[in-house]
């Protein structure tokens, strides 16, 4: 009678063998089918673009497929993985970065559309040893649980305070002709493009209020 380990061994061999035979029989047809497709793609798509960006103060040169979103350029090519991919459709705000001083969803724009522009990601705002005041306030107020949306929340929050300073109104601004106020409803409305699945909203609002210099 076979011991359990013999059985394990033979089962593994069997699996490996059958996988290999599948691979062997399948391989020729895959190769045949794909060669012309690949050639066609190379022929009619000018494959790559050179892009230079200033990311967190450093000049970075990239050679990219034009399909590469700014988000994927940051994460996959520059390995700045602080910026997160949530929905990849501009709905959740996890990918928020600051481009030319303004917050945008980095998933909804192509890297090639930002030639020569200045990009700030969460890594550029501060470091664990030397945090940006907004990062420190999020830590202090527990402005997160799982932390996935946090880089986007913080980039957004930093830009929100600049937007209020610049006098940009929001949906809840009562008087369009007066400068917007730093109220809790203003902060909440302006942060509505950053979704937090853990629901840390009230702590996020407190963190931002503290940096803005007013009690929540």
């Amino acid at each position: 009678m076979k011991s359990p380990s013999d059985f394990e061994l033979s089962r593994r061999k069997l699996l490996a063998g059958s996988a290999a035979s599948i691979a062997l029989t399948a391989a020729p047809s895959i190769v045949n089918a794909q060669v012309p497709a690949v050639e066609a793609a190379v022929a009619d798509v000018s494959a790559v673009w050179k892009v230079s960006l200033t990311v967190n103060g450093a000049a970075r040169g990239l050679t990219l497929d034009p399909r590469t979103t700014l988000l994927d350029a940051l994460r996959e090519h520059l390995h700045l993985t602080g910026t997160k991919k949530g929905c990849d459709h501009g709905q959740c705000g996890a990918c928020t970065v600051i481009v030319g001083g303004r917050r945008i969803n980095s998933c909804m724009t192509l890297a090639v559309m930002h030639e020569g522009e200045r990009i700030t990601t969460i890594e550029g705002l501060g470091t664990p040893e030397n945090m940006h005041p907004m990062q420190a306030a999020f830590v202090k107020h527990d402005g997160y649980q799982c932390g996935y949306c946090t880089p986007g929340q913080i980039c957004s929050a930093v830009a929100v305070l600049d937007e209020i300073k610049a006098g940009i109104p929001s949906h809840v601004t009562t008087d369009l002709k007066a400068p917007p106020q730093l109220s809790n409803p203003e902060l909440r409305e302006r942060m509505s493009g950053n979704i937090c699945r853990c629901g840390a909203y009230s702590n996020i609002a407190e963190a931002i209020s503290e940096v803005a210099g007013r009690p929540a």
């Binding site: 000018s46 399909r67 928020t96 303004r102 909804m108 724009t109 610049a166 942060m191």
Partner: protein, 316 residues
């Protein structure tokens, strides 16, 4: 996302000419609608013409006393412009009621006008949709149609136009300026810009192939109380179920346009003569031809009440 070739246009005329020369070309501005649809392969352009380098990002006064808004002016900048806030408050309000701060920083005036419907069946490539695939049918008819049009729809399509900004532009009688592939320019009154779905719901505007929007012009300010009221499932960051853009003068006359109810911003000038008589009279005429589904019939009452709230606010 399918592969595409990419080009940065240097002049509006060059962009339009290139769009005509290259098959399946599309302009890309903010990218916030086009890239969303390209990721889902609902839009599959073979060539993208980046128009962000065109110097169309200014807001200038016109000789007639109005404003010319460059096609590439970002939604944030348009909403925050001091002249727009002072003289065209309904436009600022509509813009600020739409999308999120991040999106408005990218979204452009032309791109906003041309954003496509949010019909869930249009977005689901497994469903039949005449707008996405002409002739395939319309899964929304008989389907989940709570968000859909109550007026101006057809047997082929019951989608709504999702833009808030466009509803204000319609109330303000804006004009769309364009350049065509042969270099000729023309102006299209916003009333003639959008098409009803009819049996060609995939053709949404009166733009010709390759035609580039260069600006949107607002006529001289008309004053009045300017209000944009948007009713949605969340207090922020959601598309309209119903919205009202209104300009109400002291004597109670004025203009109203509705969002969320039709394939285009819905304005019936004749209904505006009823404004001094109140919301019920206006709504009755505005929505006289309404043919709601069972699921979206609530929009009729909602439109009338929202209109009532807006007229009351204008008086107060």
């Amino acid at each position: 996302m399918r592969s595409f070739t990419y080009e940065r246009a240097r002049t509006p005329a060059e962009a339009a000419a290139s769009a005509m020369r290259k098959p399946d070309a599309k302009f890309i501005a903010g990218g916030t609608n086009l890239l969303d649809l390209m990721k889902l392969e609902i839009e599959t352009p073979a060539h993208l013409i980046d128009v962000n380098g065109l110097a169309l990002d200014k807001i200038e006064s016109t000789q007639e006393g109005g404003l010319r808004i460059g096609a590439l002016v970002r939604n944030t900048d348009l909403a925050a412009d001091a002249r727009v806030r002072r003289d065209y408050g309904v436009l600022s309000r509509a813009l600020l009621a739409g999308a999120s701060g991040q999106l408005r920083n990218m979204a452009t005036t032309a791109g906003n006008l041309l954003q496509r419907t949010r019909c869930p069946y249009f977005y689901d490539t497994n469903q039949s949709c005449n707008k996405r695939k002409p002739g395939s049918g319309c899964a929304a008819i008989g389907g989940f149609s709570r968000q859909h049009a109550v007026v101006g729809a057809s047997e082929a399509c019951i989608a709504t136009h999702p833009s808030d900004m466009a509803v204000a532009m319609r109330a303000l009688d804006a004009t769309v300026e364009t350049v065509q592939p042969d270099g000729a320019t023309r102006t299209i009154p916003i009333a003639e810009f959008y098409r009803l779905p009819g049996d060609t719901p995939h053709i949404e505007t009166t733009l010709m192939p390759g035609e580039l929007i260069t600006a949107v012009t607002l006529p001289k300010p008309v004053g009045g109380k300017q209000i944009y009221r948007k009713v949605r499932d969340r207090a922020s960051y959601a598309f309209a179920l119903v919205s009202v853009a209104a300009i109400v003068q002291r004597d109670g006359t004025g203009r109203v346009a509705l969002g969320g109810v039709a394939h285009k911003p819905w304005r019936v000038e004749a209904a505006e003569t009823q404004m001094p008589r109140g919301a019920k009279a206006v709504a009755a005429q505005l929505l006289a031809d309404a043919r709601p589904t069972r699921e979206n019939a609530f929009k009729l009452a909602l439109a009338e009440r929202t209109l009532g709230a807006v007229l009351a606010e204008a008086k107060g």
